[in-house]
């Protein structure tokens, strides 16, 4: 595991647009998220949503040396978490869908059951597909959606990560939502 210094350096580099730095950061962040998620879920706190944001925050605090970053870097860090979340969820939904279609899995592990209903899994997969299509037409809007729904970032934070005005973020969100909703169609909901 690299030192907080190195990780902080990577984050600062990525905030400035260095894609290689992002590629190195992703697995590090994911590992820490994973570890913290385990210990958090064990506590079974009822307020999951708050807790999740807090969790990403805690990951941030653990990995990054606060003295060496500006407040804007935090939003970038959340942006990384959003990407991780999106990938984990779509992989999981795909796996689950495959298991459902292929009949009962021979060994169902004790806990990997019932996290996603099959409707939710299908919904996620449909969204994933539509987001990819949206990205092909308008990359920025798909990023806005990713940050908002997979990373839980506020409009202001998204504005910071993408260097846009908050008003434009809100407009992008409205439009992307309508576009995705239409793309996925009425049936899924």
């Amino acid at each position: 595991m690299p030192s907080p210094d190195e990780i902080t350096g990577l984050l600062v580099k990525w905030s400035k647009g260095d894609q290689q730095a992002l590629a190195e950061l992703l697995p590090l962040v994911e590992r820490e998220l994973h570890r913290l998620a385990h210990s958090y879920m064990r506590r079974e706190n009822p307020n999951h949503t708050l807790q999740t944001t807090a969790l990403i925050n805690e990951t941030y605090l653990r990995l990054i040396d606060q003295r060496k970053v500006q407040w804007q870097n935090r939003a970038h860090f959340f942006g990384i978490a959003a990407q991780i979340m999106r990938r984990i969820l779509s992989n999981y939904a795909r796996d689950q869908n495959r298991v459902k279609r292929g009949g009962r899995a021979k060994q169902v592990s004790l806990s990997r059951v019932g996290i996603l209903s099959s409707e939710k899994a299908k919904e996620l997969l449909a969204l994933e597909e539509a987001l990819d299509k949206l990205a092909a037409i308008d990359k920025r809007k798909s990023r806005v959606v990713e940050l908002k729904y997979f990373g839980g970032l506020s409009v202001e934070e998204i504005a910071e990560v993408l260097k846009m005005s908050p008003a434009t973020v809100q407009r992008d969100l409205n439009y992307a939502k309508a576009w995705l909703r239409r793309e996925i169609g009425n049936e899924a909901y």
Binding site: A37, M41, T49, Q51, I56, L110, S111, I115, K177
Partner: protein, 857 residues
Amino acid sequence: MKPIDQERVENLFHAALELAPADRVAYIPKACGNDQSLYQEVESLVAAFENGNGFIEQPFLELGMKVLSSTSNGTLAGKQVGSYKILSPLGHGGMGEVYLAEDTRLARKVALKFLSPEFVGDKTAKRQLIKEAQAVAMLDHPNICTVFGLEEVGEHSFIVMQYVEGETLASLIGARSLHLNEVLMLADQIISALAEAHARGIIHRDIKPKNIMVTPQRQIKVLDFGLAKTIRPRPSVAEGADSISQVSQVDVIPGTVAYMSPEQLRAEKLDYRSDIFSLGTVLYEMVSSKNPFARETTADVISSILTSKPPALKDASSQTSREIERMVRKCLEKDRTQRYQSASELLIEWENYIRAISVQRSSAWQFVVRWATTAVVVLLLVAVLAYVYLNWAKPRTMAILPIANETGDANLDFLAEGLTRDTIKELSGLNKLRVMAYTMVSGYQGQIDPQKIGQELKVDEVVIARIKGARDSLSLEAVMIDIEDGSQRWAKKYALDLTTSAPVSTELSKDLRASLGVWSQAETQIQTHHSANPEARNEYMRGLHSWRKRDNNYTLKAAIDHFNTAIELDPTYAEAYAGLADCYALGNVVSYPDLGIDTKEAMLRAARAAKDALKIDDTLAEAHTSLGFVYMKSDRNWHAAEKEFKRAIELEPDYALAYLGYSNLRSLTGPQSDAIALALKAREFDPFSPVMALNFCRSYYYARRDAEASKCFDKLVEDIPGYTNGWYGRAFIQLQQGSPQGAIRVLEDLYAKDQRSAASALGYAYGRAGNYDAARRVLAEMENLSKKSYIPPYEFALIYLGLKDNENTVFWLRKAAEEKFATTLYIAVDPIYDPIRSDPRFSELVGSFNIPLQPNH
């Protein structure tokens, strides 16, 4: 077409959103001018935005977190720890992580429970792990996951446990609703496991569906005694136990809140009765698929466990009974002094209930036999599962195969069938023995290989028996085969005398009981509805046999004659009346004229016979069901019919025919979703019956869920190609979906084979496809046929419907309704009548059925 200007679309979209929703409708076309494609683009986006309530509103963070926390880092997977090769993570719970591993010394799979990485090195956590191992090691029970040992390798301490293949009860309940039979059987094992733990002074403290595994053999294994606490510490560990018990009390609320007892939530001192409450929650969920305290937030869950009374089970599930309701409710009492005081107390009542209903159910078998498929020779395999708990020893199970008639005299088939039924009935009354729903068990065809069947059914023993000899010197030979090695465990030959009052089945069942070692003086006498008169009994068995084999009107008439003779010989013979009621209520409507009566008269006789049966014995589900059909088909007394079907289901919760009747009723009254659910139940309880399968597809058809109906019929004709009713159903859905050609081809084939049966459907299909000449030709042929034999008026109505001749359609429908021809009722919901639905004569006719419509939900 010019490409759409993306920027303009966006600008118009945002401009429209600025406006009040009502003003957008006018704004968009104005702003788009003549540009139709621009208009469509903007309008559809705005519409999607407006309809998008709830769509990606909440971030997916929480879900992502759950996935993250449930997938393991896999830190140990692939590693070798001592003699264990760790294969893959199985899950986590408490402070531990469980892995599948291979014990390389013994070459077997085991489950290893490690402390989670963050607890490695934590002394308190380690002591808790040791305590869990010690607690479970005290328990030796088939329904509790066995602990093999506790090991320490380097920094790792871990429990070595039996590896249980299967799924958790949570995933089982999540995937489908359980049959009542399954619930009873699975719950019995859970309660019994808990009774063992309580008897050893151990409280589980975390009973929930995720901690209960169900193996593919339907064996329960209770897992995760990680929170278990020993109440009566063994002297040798007393000191340790005391200090360990504090560990769990420091944890504020471990485990899943939704299954906790009120006292657990209040962090009070716990005893066995806390497990009883959690168990009650699990039982409730098994019956209804719903957690009684499920709420939006954890705070609400806690508050409802503490204060609110769970909704009555009968409101949450269609398959419960007063007795189950009472037992579950007693588990869920907020005041623990009002609950069962230990699991063994509940176990006694639960098993008493199972025994009580298996006595009732044994009579269901006769009905099933009568209703078994006519097309396929199905050897109904009847399994009696004998659970022999000798101080909670391994349960023994046994299956009795249908007795074979090897006399060469087909007139004695009735005897073989009747003896099988009686033997099972008498065994089912035995303590610790229970009968599975017969229809649930596989049907086997051809050669019987007892060992193979035994293995498929996962029983320990199979009993096969045959009748041999000539009429005056009949004998019954029975052998019991041990499935494990195929050896003969027991055999006996009995003389068969048809005139003795004590049937040989009594003797046989007695010997089987003795050989299983489950005979007990305390056995109560099995209550049978049977007549003491051997002649009446023989006649009844002959009646059943004819009814079951009915393939023409002669056998229906023969069945009626036998039942009547049985009643003459013993006027108090309730089952014989019920058999008679079935013949009249459920016979093929076309056969009534051949019996010399019309449908109306048949219904009158059915009602009389059913009421006579119920006067003698009010607990015959068959008679209630027959009466339900009469009330529905003939009297159109919908409420009375519903009451009878419900009562039948209450008496025999796995009686497929009662669900069928109730489903038919719901197809007519709505809600359609109920009709489908009931039809599904009927099919589940009688999986080999084409009638039930057909009915299930039809429930989709009437609900106008065409895509599902179409798929269902496709599968039906594929599974049972010889069942012509399936092909008719499929043809009608094809017509409905606008593809008449395929339907007509099939109907023409059917017509070539059986004009009388296929004429009306073919004529209708021709008309529907616009080929009126062909339709009229079929009509003429039908009129011809009707001079020779009875053709129900309904069939004429159908052809006229195809010819779009409303006047004649209504004329024949009225006639059909007067004749009480059952199919007529369905015109109220059948989509093919939609074109004529607005005709006042038609709506008046449908109105005369007085169907109490219920809203779909």
